[in-house]
Amino acid sequence: MKAARFDLVRPRDLAEALDLLSAPSGVVKVMAGGQSLGPMLNLRLVEPDLVVDISAIPELRRFERAGDTLVIGAGCTHADIEDGRVADAGPDLLARVASGIAYRAVRNRGTVGGSLAHADPAADWPTALLALGAEIELASREGRRRLPLGAFLTGALSTALHAGELILAIRIPQVSPSAGFGYVKHARKIGEFAHALGAALVDLDAQAGRAVMGAVDRPPIVFEDAGVLFGGRIGPDIGAFDRSVADEALKAAGVASEAARHVHVEILRRALAQAIDRAPSAARAAA
């Protein structure tokens, strides 16, 4: 199929883009890398009057460190992150997530902001960035605001983005040197959207961690304190992982299939095991 007729504009700076979005006549869609919107246009699942292509806006391609926070422009591509053209939040951390997204051809064009705005529950960034405690920075002609990523993702394919707003940047707290990050993706083949995603950030010295289950039919399930998955406090022993806690959370989220829950829980367990394994811990070294 071919897209229905639409107008295309390619603003050169942020102000111009926000002006275009603030006074729309008809349906407007923002396109960054076009890796989701492109097929949707061709399948005529969306028929906008105007597509605003934001790929030529320099402000969206920047990254910077603001104190302990890494700020990544929403227009940075997965390949920018994979290849290290954008700073990482820890050793081979975002780069590892990025390298597992779809195929290289998709990573060359697809952007981190586009992925979050599309909010596909099976995409990598929502799950991975929730585990890292990311915030999202939004801009409109009226001003800027920040939201925790968990508040931004309101449902499957749905976000708190207002009309006239763009995602400006993703703000990721620098990962502590004593923390380990685990990320496990379950798909039937390389390049496929995930059937289960597990992400975990574990600091053994602090006996603290955050864990996330993605690829459910709603925003990812976040355990702000991963200790609840270990009967209290998280420690170096993955054997203490209590499957029933994660299983109950999945049931509450409406995952009816026992086999699907089994896989989600197992993937989460493996992500936690990986995070524990990667956490450089004085406690474990002594053990």
């Binding site: 199929m1 007729r5 399948l43 005529r44 083949k189 390389i190 496929e192 059937h195």
Partner: protein, 789 residues
């Protein structure tokens, strides 16, 4: 023969001539064609699987750009009738009349300067449909008559068949193993989909239809039957074709529609299938259901096989192979490479509200291999012997060759036990079993699986005439013409869409004429320029077209020798032909010089020279046309992660016997491509339908194909047992790679999971299915399955 000559003839690993343009992106496909004034077509397709058409509403301002069934004056439905007794024919109107029988069926044709604009018009057409209950399950289609795909039939069965060879004699066997085994509905998914460009050639007064197809001459006959045009008024061209695999072996309703439209508008029109149409609307393949029982002695010797098989043939009988080829093949080839004394097979080809199915690479062999090989592993388990022991007990033995099996298939040659033995050695089965026993550090389970098949190929008149379908292959023909400067043009009516014929047929010609292969051109894919052929299907081209090229070249040699002897002033009996020249007692003369004399200096020719000159069309049929039997043993080692259902192939071994190989590198390529498709069948590919008959995989995000990362690097060993019946002893091998992998992989998964009480009997073996089976087995203990022993 010189060393230099040997490097290009039969048996040489000659690099593919066609790769130069393909690898540089210079192929010419249907979608590359631009004709002045060409318009694009988009179809309005049925959104429902089964419905009565009450009205089609077209806004007045686009009425002249939309065509419906009532506009197609005089156009006849597509009919692919089988002569088998009891076959119920279907009529497929190119644009639906009265009823739609599948999602995606063509209802209206919209034409505009671009495809996007044609789709805009299509969106304005409104269908008023009265929904009828959809028939989506082949078992219910067979047994129930509440809803009918074709009302006039009274049921939903295209054809029912029964073969019974003394099955009652096996009933007292000590081992009886019964299984329900099935293969999912699949899409064939060549990289290039279908596409048609049609225009009227006023100079020749011919409708010229350029279409991405495997059988241009058959498409011409079909278009003639449907459009009511005499065949000489139709030219069908098949340009570069980006993969076929059976998907392009059909007369399309779209081809008929475009042919009619080009004449009606007197303008070039085109339709290029998009991936959504391909996945949801056009032909599928492979959907089989088996209830199979194997009777055996305590040592695993098969006493008999009893099977009921259903094939979901979809809503229409596809032209030319018909709706019953697949099930007819099930009944005749289920015994595979095994020798046993009793057999019964009942088959049903049923109609459902799904697209027609077409024979996909391997045709029914992939399904029957899956059923038979999985059942044999169950026999091995019941008998307490290894899978290889049960196979070695029952394989046809070399000293039995040529061998007529229980369904009277005539095996021409081969050593099946040797292929299996070599495969076991290559994969080092003892080491695999030791590793399996030791266990993996990561907790995954090692599995080892085997499968063996035989592939009847290049089967001809005697096999197909009995079916009475619109296509029966006879002699295959080839044209060969020496050019005035000593080059060679070959003309064939079959078509190469990936099989490397532009390389391998010149190798055959080189073997006989000695002309360097870079001076040999292959002309194919054009009814105006090539001899008639039923086309590219059934792994037949190396045997049939290769044989025809050899015959034509040999006749050229005779003509050249007569001229050459005269020019050498020698008697014909004193000269011989040797690598591109005629050699006489006192000298020799090059073929190129003989060509120069024939065309440019005819005054030097002998009186009474053959007037046909250096251009020959010759025909070929093997001594027996019951087909060649190539075969292979596949062995695989894999690891199963039972908690998440992930399967990783660790090692894959293929020992293959395709008779004499014209180009072993090309054969390796065929096996690799087939293996990739076989892995897709085993693990990934499935076209599911819901209860309303809606296809649930409408993009390649849902319909999963194997990619490079999913394909292991197999180790391939060739045996070369010549066929006694064919030129050079070649056999057809084009489909074999896709036949065995689903069975070998499923057997290996079952080997890995057997200690958990899990047995997977449906393809594809997906992670979801594995995890569900593992959890079910854990919940249900003790094991429920009890095989009589």
């Amino acid at each position: 023969m010189s060393e230099e000559g040997k490097a290009q003839g039969v048996g040489a690993r000659l690099p593919r001539k066609e790769d130069d343009r393909f690898l540089r992106g210079r192929g010419q496909y249907v979608a590359d064609i631009r004709l002045p004034g060409m318009q694009d077509v988009a179809f309005v397709r049925s959104p429902l699987a089964h419905a009565r058409i009450k009205a089609v509403s077209i806004p007045d301002h686009v009425r002249d750009r939309v065509f419906v069934a009532a506009d197609l004056d005089g156009v006849k439905p597509i009919r692919a009738v089988s002569g088998l007794p009891g076959f119920k024919p279907s009529e497929q109107p190119p644009l639906a009349r009265e009823k739609v029988r599948q999602v995606g069926e063509l209802v209206a044709m919209c034409v505009a300067p671009t495809r996007a604009e044609a789709e805009d018009i299509a969106a304005l057409v409104e269908l008023d449909l009265e929904e009828l209950p959809a028939i989506h399950d082949m078992r219910r289609a067979r047994d129930e008559t509440a809803s009918l795909v074709h009302e006039e039939w009274g049921d939903n069965v295209f054809l029912e068949t029964l073969v019974d060879v003394d099955i009652a004699s096996a009933f007292d066997a000590p081992i009886k193993v019964s299984r329900t085994i099935s293969t999912a509905r699949q899409c064939m998914a060549p990289i290039e989909g279908r596409g048609v460009v049609a225009h009227l050639d006023r100079r020749l007064d011919q409708l010229c239809v350029t279409t991405s197809c495997q059988m241009p001459h058959i498409v011409r006959s079909g278009l003639s039957e449907c459009l009511g045009l005499m065949e000489e008024r139709i030219r069908v061209v098949s340009p570069d074709v980006g993969g076929g695999f059976g998907y392009k072996g059909i007369l399309l309703a779209e081809e008929v529609c475009l042919g009619w439209l080009a004449l009606r508008l007197d303008a070039p029109v085109r339709w290029i299938e998009d991936r959504r149409e391909h996945l949801t609307a056009n032909a599928d393949c492979r959907e089989h259901h088996y209830e199979i029982t194997v009777y055996a002695e305590r040592d695993g010797t098969i006493r008999g096989v009893d099977c009921e098989a259903i094939v979901d043939s979809g809503c229409y009988s596809a032209y030319p192979f018909s709706a019953c080829l697949e099930a007819a093949q099930v009944a005749s080839i289920l015994p595979g490479p095994y020798d046993f004394p009793a057999y019964r097979c009942r088959t049903w080809s049923v109609a459902t509200n799904k697209p027609p199915i077409l024979p996909y690479r391997g045709v029914a062999r992939t399904g029957v291999c899956f059923a038979m090989e999985l059942a044999l592993d169950a026999v091995a388990a019941a008998a307490g012997v290894t899978p290889e022991q049960v196979r070695l007990k029952n394989l046809v033995r070399p000293e039995q060759m040529p061998f007529d099996n229980i369904t009277r298939k005539h095996f021409d040659s081969g050593d099946y036990p040797e292929a299996l033995t070599r495969a076991l050695k290559m994969i080092d089965v003892d080491a695999v079993r030791a590793r399996q026993k030791a266990g993996e550090p990561d907790g995954r389970r090692i599995g080892f699986g085997l499968s063996i098949y035989c592939e009847q190929s290049a089967h001809g008149t005697s096999v197909y005439s009995g079916w009475g379908i619109p296509m029966v292959p006879g002699h295959e023909q080839a044209g060969a013409r020496l050019t005035p400067d000593g080059g060679l043009e070959l003309r064939i009516g079959a078509h190469s869409h990936g099989q490397s014929l532009e390389t391998t047929l010149p190798q055959v010609a080189h073997e006989i004429l000695g002309i360097p292969t870079d001076r040999i051109r292959l002309v194919h894919g054009d009814t105006a320029m090539t001899p008639y052929s039923t086309g590219a299907w059934g792994s037949r081209m190396m045997v049939m077209t290769g044989g025809a090229v050899a015959s034509a070249c040999e006749e050229l040699v005779e003509r050249a020798v007569a001229i050459g002897a005269h020019l050498l002033q020698a008697d014909s009996s004193d000269v011989r032909f040797e690598m591109g020249r005629v050699v006489g007692p006192s000298g020799d003369i090059q073929l190129s010089e003989i060509a120069r004399v024939w065309y440019r200096r005819p005054q030097d020719l002998p009186t009474g020279a053959h007037g046909g000159g250096l251009e020959v069309t010759a025909g070929y049929k093997p001594q027996r046309d019951s087909g060649t039997f190539s075969y292979a043993a596949h062995a695989v080692t894999l690891a199963v992660d039972a908690e998440i259902g992930a399967v990783e192939i660790l090692d894959y071994v293929i020992v293959e016997d395709g008779g004499v190989l014209v180009n072993p590198m090309v054969v390796d390529g065929q096996i690799l491509g087939g293996l990739a498709q076989g892995i897709g069948t085993a693990l990934l590919e499935e076209m599911p339908y819901d209860q309303a008959g809606q296809p649930l995989a409408s993009t390649l995000g849902d319909y999963l194909l194997p990619g490079a990362a999913e394909i292991p690097a197999p180790r391939i060993d060739h045996m070369e047992t010549p066929s006694p019946y064919t030129r050079f002893g070649v056999k057809g091998i084009g489909e074999g790679g896709a036949i065995a992998p689903p069975a070998a992989i499923a057997n290996a998964i079952n080997d890995a999971l057997r200690p958990l009480g899990v047995e997977m009997l449906a393809s594809p073996v997906t992670p979801d299915r594995i995890v569900e089976a593992v959890l079910t087995a854990r919940a249900a203990s003790p094991r429920e399955r009890r095989d009589a022993a």
